[in-house]
């Protein structure tokens, strides 16, 4: 066990899985860098340095820099997965899924079912998501609800370095296509991460705080905000349960329903746009299956229904931050008093 960043945890998971299994290859744009160039090789290791060091260790046959041609190389990763390799492809920003989605949702996601169970497509697509980088409308979206919507895809949203390593190893070992979402504002986040490989099973939520007054169900980066809010409020006599579902598909509905029923007061926190997102999904689930246990209406804390703005002044308003979560918790708790 030692302290590692989210970035290091992901890098370590890739390295250990590549060491374990020769069939694991990684590909993406500038995931090493310098290909064909006269200067430094492995110059970037991805735009935020997440895959740095892997090319020198495993060589360019297993760490493939690609031209800018997502439809081509994401599709190639899918095809390679269906024919014996276990590729981990990097879609640099999830916002770029627009130029390659067919290969993901019509091809990878459906092979198993359409082919009568005969196909296995163990592909992982690692991708960066989320606001907070002043990266504007086409480099800041969440979009995991779009992928969660598609039967056949699994979707992981690691909320800290420990989760990142364990969920990525599970993603690589999993025989289904997995979309692995990395929040760009978390790469420098530190946490305790075991040195040895370990896999966190999909569909098993992590209860990060236990309390009696309210249940906060949060996704990805929002789990950290929810934890902070819970810690702050616990000092003021409001105790919260915080649930990190870890994967949106499969979704641990059991833990969500149990913890919602325990407190009867629920806040769902989702950085995605408010229509058809994880917050509405979870709220509907609870309303359907635990309505009789609710003591207050469910509150959803989400981004607003607009593209992510560039100006820091607007982006800060856009992000569902700790203040909004705290206000929502106070509101659901306040209803009872």
């Amino acid at each position: 066990m030692s302290k590692k960043t989210y970035r290091q945890a992901i890098n370590e998971a890739l390295r250990q899985e590549m060491e374990r299994d020769e069939r694991v290859i990684i590909m993406g744009e500038d995931i090493a860098g310098g290909l064909g160039s006269p200067g430094e090789q492995d110059a970037w290791g991805g735009p935020l340095g997440v895959t740095k060091g892997l090319m020198p260790k495993f060589g360019r046959d297993r760490v493939l820099d690609t031209p800018i041609t997502e439809s081509g190389f994401i599709g190639a990763a899918v095809g390679a997965a269906a024919t014996g390799l276990r590729p981990v492809a990097e879609l640099m920003f999830v916002d770029f899924f627009g130029v390659c989605f067919d290969q993901i949702f019509n091809q990878a996601a459906k092979f198993k079912y359409m082919f009568g169970g005969k196909a296995v497509t163990p592909v992982v697509i690692r991708t960066m998501y989320g606001a907070g980088f002043r990266a504007a409308s086409q480099h800041s979206q969440c979009l995991y609800p779009v992928f969660t919507h598609i039967p056949g895809l699994k979707v992981a949203l690691p909320s800290n370095p420990y989760e990142a390593k364990g969920l990525l190893i599970q993603s690589i070992r999993d025989d289904d296509p997995v979309i692995f979402f990395e929040h760009k504002a978390m790469y420098d986040l530190e946490g305790e991460v075991p040195d040895e490989p370990y896999a966190i099973p999909f569909g098993e939520a992590n209860v990060t705080r236990e309390g009696d007054d309210a249940t906060i169900i949060a996704f990805g980066r929002m789990v950290n905000f929810a934890n902070d809010v819970a810690d702050k409020l616990s000092k003021q006599g409001i105790s919260c349960t915080v649930v990190d579902p870890r994967t949106t598909s499969p979704l641990d509905t059991e833990t969500i329903l149990e913890t919602a029923a325990e407190t009867g007061r629920v806040v769902v926190v989702d950085e995605a746009h408010p229509r058809c997102n994880m917050a509405t999904d979870v709220a509907a689930l609870i309303a359907q299956d635990a309505f009789d246990k609710l003591k207050a209406p469910i509150k959803m804390v989400t981004a607003p229904h607009c593209p992510v703005p560039f100006s820091p002044a607007l982006e800060d308003l856009y992000i569902p931050g700790p203040d909004k979560i705290e206000a929502a918790v106070r509101a659901v708790v306040g209803k009872a008093h």
Partner: protein, 322 residues
């Protein structure tokens, strides 16, 4: 050569303004005053200006993530651009777009683009509008060497050709897509690719404004005359990193310095026009001073300008009330 004295002054002014703009943005970014992803066009000025000198309000261009130069060349207001990059309310896009989405449709500038390969299909649409509405307009997509490999780019070549659109694809090959050399990433040649789709295609030295201007004239006249699309492969050099903050260690150590010393497009322009006696050094010096002062003023005003506020967050998502 049919460039008048005024044209020459205008060309130099635009190129110098782009250079000053980018140098200033670089300094301000380095000082921590500009947020986000910023990609600078310094070194490539002759391409944007060589093409846009032939364009007017009927014509449209689509740019890339490296869009400031195309904006200025197409006549966007540099002051509002600077405000935009600083995220200010009176920016060209109200502070909502930033460097990567800077645009002014009223000037026929269809936007910088955060999606590599986003522009070529859009200019097929602009060319279709021009053709259908019989405006006489043409449309140009500026595309990087990296963007030239995107499927959307190839689809656009084909569409432009089969629809015989007044479209021009300008491949600005600065040698790299992020860290990756175009000598590796591009299979075949840009010119052969264009010819493969039945388009006239030529390569041109992007350090030479006059050479760019000449091939641009041919391609644009052809398109305006109903002769269909063409492709131009512009060889050029970006002076700064891929984005601000990139140390560009993948380049040869002296690559940029050598180019600046021997092939800088502004330097070559100056040499050419002064040696030919077309313009005197003093006129050019005056433009240099004006451009510098103008950009300094833009930066100072941008810094002092107000930010957007909460009531701006949800405006302009839709055209009709929502």
């Amino acid at each position: 050569m049919q460039l008048s004295r005024d044209d020459l002054l205008q060309a130099y002014r635009r190129m110098r303004l782009i250079r000053e703009f980018e140098d200033a943005v670089h300094d301000e970014f380095s000082a921590g005053n500009i947020p986000g992803f910023v990609h600078l066009y310094a070194g490539e000025e002759a391409s944007a200006v060589g093409f846009c000198m032939h364009l007017d309000e009927r014509d449209a261009i689509a740019s890339t993530h490296r869009g400031h130069g195309h904006c200025i060349a197409k006549g966007c207001d540099e002051r509002a651009m600077m405000f935009e990059i600083f995220g200010k309310k009176d920016g060209l896009c109200g502070g909502k777009g930033g460097s990567m989405h800077i645009a002014d449709l009223s000037k026929g500038m269809m936007g910088a683009n955060g999606i590599v390969g986003g522009g070529p299909p859009l200019i097929c649409g602009a060319a279709l509008s021009a053709k259908t509405l019989k405006t006489g307009g043409v449309a140009i997509a500026f595309v990087g060497d990296g963007g030239s490999n995107q499927g959307t780019t190839f689809e656009s070549y084909n569409l432009a050709k089969v629809w015989n659109l007044p479209a021009i694809f300008v491949i600005e090959d600065n040698g790299y897509a992020e860290t990756t050399s175009s000598s590796w990433s591009v299979a075949g040649s840009q010119v052969d690719r264009g010819k493969g789709f039945g388009m006239p295609a030529v390569q041109v030295d992007g350090s030479d404004f006059f050479a760019v201007w000449e091939v641009a004239r041919e391609a644009i006249e052809r398109a305006r005359g109903g002769g269909g699309p063409s492709l131009v492969h512009v060889k050029c050099m970006r002076y700064y990193g891929h984005f601000e903050g990139d140390a560009a260690t993948y380049k040869a150590p002296d690559e940029v310095a050598r180019y600046k010393a021997t092939k800088d497009p502004l330097m070559l322009f100056r040499q050419r026009v002064t040696e030919a006696g077309l313009l005197d050094g003093q006129a050019l010096d005056a433009i240099d001073r004006e451009a510098k002062a103008r950009i300094e003023q833009c930066v100072a005003e941008a810094k002092a300008a107000p930010l957007p506020t909460e009531k701006d967050l949800l405006t302009d998502v839709y055209t009709s009330p929502y």
